[in-house]
């Protein structure tokens, strides 16, 4: 069995072995193998191509940008997504603008170990996909399965545009698959994770699994949820979402990030703008609470959407 985390390590191994332009740079990614061991043994396998950076997020991203201009394909690791704010300037003002301004693409991959885990607290739990999706020029990936963690990371390396790769820490160890795919759906294509008829749940990342669990619970009551896994939040696959809403007439967007200006808000804006007539009732969203992510597990498990919360929200959406 291969875990989500191992899939990320294997994707990097494959990228390093197949493309001499690829290198890995980040804090503790060298001999130590990364804070989560996502780069374990890679520095030994690929001498001189996997190395430690100083504790300098701004310099790490900035150096990746310069290396990309010179034709390399750097993969940089932020130890936690939360710390990418210290490299924010280089991501949003340099990497994201380079192609538009100069015509030179910026093929960097910034790996963000994202999202909450029990006990993570305010600074090791954040979901930053909406923040980066807000800026033009950044592809934002949010793999929710082992297969996508592997296949999408390889896609990310192959893309000429900068990619913010939001890998979910909650899925690192317990999400497992029998094998790894040769290919996955194209970048920017959402996946129908569950077919249904009564309502559409649009989600991504770790929330996919909460939504799937909620769907099982609702199924026992005779309601069949259709679930769309966005896979990439930018570009956003509006067509797949609209097609699902056309089948169900009801929409619930579930996202672990904060509500204001989030992915759920964007999906609802698209659906109401482009598919208002498809909706039987007002769309709903379920996000994390609008506070910093709390440390205590009892608080945290209520702060973020859970299967129970999703099932409750869906019942309201279905008026039951």
């Amino acid at each position: 069995m291969i875990t989500y985390l191992e899939a990320i390590r294997l994707a990097q191994e494959k990228a390093l072995s197949e493309d001499p332009r690829v290198f890995l740079y980040g804090q503790d990614v060298g001999n130590f193998g990364g804070a989560f061991k996502a780069t374990k043994s890679l520095s030994k396998q690929f001498p001189g191509r996997v190395f430690d950076a100083p504790l300098s997020e701004d310099a790490i991203i900035g150096m990746a940008v310069g290396a990309a201009i010179e034709g390399m394909r750097p993969i940089v690791e932020m130890q936690f997504a939360d710390f990418s704010t210290c490299g924010f300037n280089q991501i949003v003002n340099h990497a994201a603008t380079l192609y538009y301004r100069t015509g030179v693409p910026c093929p960097i991959v910034v790996r963000l170990p994202s999202g909450g885990t029990s006990g993570g607290g305010p600074f090791h739990s954040q979901s930053m996909e909406a923040l980066y999706a807000h800026y033009p020029g950044l592809v934002v990936m949010t793999p929710a399965t082992v297969e996508d963690a592997y296949g999408m990371l390889l896609d990310a390396v192959a893309l000429d545009d900068p990619v913010i790769f939001c890998e979910h820490k909650f899925l690192y160890y317990h999400l497992k698959a029998d094998g790894l795919p040769e290919t996955v759906l194209p970048v920017g294509k959402a996946r129908l994770a569950r077919a249904g008829r009564d309502a559409t749940i649009v989600t991504h990342g770790a929330m996919l699994h909460e939504a799937l669990a909620a769907a099982v619970e609702l199924s026992e009551d005779g309601y069949e949820m259709e679930i769309v896994d966005l896979r990439t939040v930018k570009p956003l696959d509006t067509d797949t979402i609209l097609a699902s809403v056309a089948r169900t007439g009801r929409l619930l967007c579930v996202s672990e990030e904060w509500p204001w200006g989030g992915v759920a808000a964007e999906v609802i804006a698209r659906v109401t703008g482009e598919g208002f007539g498809l909706l039987d009732v007002a769309p709903m969203r379920l996000n994390a609470k609008d506070t910093p992510v709390p440390y205590h597990p009892d608080l945290w498990s209520v702060h973020r959407p859970t299967a129970n919360a999703i099932a409750d929200a869906t019942r309201r959406l279905l008026h039951i």
């Binding site: 310069g66 290396a67 994201a96």
Partner: protein, 338 residues
Amino acid sequence: MPTQKVDAPVTSSDFIKAYRVMLLARVLEEKLASLYRAGAIKGGVFLGRGQEALSVSVGFSLRKGDIFAPLIRDQAGRMAFGDTVLDTLRTYLGSQLGPMRGRDGNIHRGRPREGYYAMISHLGAMIPAVSGALLARRMKGESGIVGATCIGDGGTSTGAFHEGLNAAAVEKLPLVLVVANNQYAYSTPNSRQFACADLVDKAAGYGVAGHSVDGTDLEQCLATLRRAVRAARDGQGPQLVVGKLLRLVGHGEHDDASYVDPAMKASALGRDCLLLAEARIIAEKWSPADECAKWRQQAEEEVNATVDKVRREPAPDPEEDDWAAFSNQDFAEHYAGV
């Protein structure tokens, strides 16, 4: 002790060549100022008057294949590295034919494919970018490459300066970081910017070599940059060069710089490096005064002819722009309802 290499002395021919680039930059910037006052330039104009000697020495000391990420007051250095009057004017005047195609303006220009990086406004950001480029060159097996970038006294206070220089030092990259200490960051004097005695003192803290130079003296600037670039090229790691001078214009052309201390203007710092260089050429009899006047006239003719040409060029057409921030055209999204 490793044997010290002796750098080739600055010859009169080097001096004159660098002077003529400074002169062209000065003449071009004078024209930019008048175009700005006439309302012909949209956005700001940021000039390098008083900083040409230091700046030109950076560009002059680099060679083809090197990397250069200039900052806002580096017109002279840019031109010494290969930028042209044409590209400069196309960018300032918003010609569709320029390298930035109206998508970015004024000093935010470059040709990254040619090693000439286009700065972003956020100070210090180009330091790690050039460092990463040097890392890439090293990984590709290229040696003997130097990357240079410039910053001001204000920029040394940023986190990016610290992170970039430190990371470059750790990797022992061939980076030349040139600080033009022009005494003011916009209106903020050195006394409110840093508390060390001299910015070059910071070099020791990063474990890199430091060089101080009188930024008004072209010969000193050329010799110092030649030494620093050679040291970087020889594998001696990052070189921090600090030139002391005075910005002889406002922060931008909108700024009358009334905050500049008159005593500083009257001091040696306030001397005009271009006039000093010209006086030196005449005093040393490297060229007569009328020759210098002829060079200025030639520069003016080139600048004026290029302005006439660029002003007839098309502006970017909003209908024609693809409005694509992604290089992958499939990723373009269409937002309905607008």
